[in-house]
Subunit: 97 residues, 2 copies
């Protein structure tokens, strides 16, 4: 396993930084199961619409979630199978300590 160069190091820490916030983890957690619109996400995780929208923007720009628009409703879902895997590996770790 070759070591990472400086650029990849930055990219990788940026990626994990995205996972390192409880609001975003909550969003990812519920999107593991189903596609949801912004309002429903906010309700399910007990956060404001604004806070969720801000965090979805971050998740979107990092390619962790994708979306589709239906009318004026926007449905979000996870974008990449690695997300589930990273999430799951983290979960395994915290379940063992």
């Amino acid at each position: 396993m070759k070591l990472l160069d400086e650029d990849k190091i930055i990219d990788l820490s940026e990626l994990f930084k995205i996972f390192g916030d409880s609001t975003r983890i909550k969003i990812i957690n519920i999107l593991l199961d189903e596609e949801l619109c912004v309002g429903d996400i906010a309700e399910k995780i007990s956060a404001t619409q604004s806070a969720v929208s801000h965090q979805l923007r971050i998740l979107k720009s990092s390619k962790l979630v994708k979306y589709r628009k239906v009318g004026n409703t926007v449905f979000y879902s996870l974008d990449d199978h690695h997300i589930k895997e990273i999430f799951e590996k983290g979960r395994e770790h915290i379940n063992e300590i």
Copy 2:
């Protein structure tokens, strides 16, 4: 796959927060290959001894690294196989986008 409860959510985001810093990722990156002492880590990642020591304390208290003392030298290595796996999954993700 059952959804996480509030406590696990916090634990999980705390875990990823640890990975979300480039100095710590650099440390983890070089510890993938070999056990190293603090001074060598600092030299290899071009950071000060103090900065590395501070970050090692965080990695240690999160059970991501373990250490053994030999004289006044302290050797650090990765503590858990999940660390490599989480790291590798993240790496796969950034290599695909």
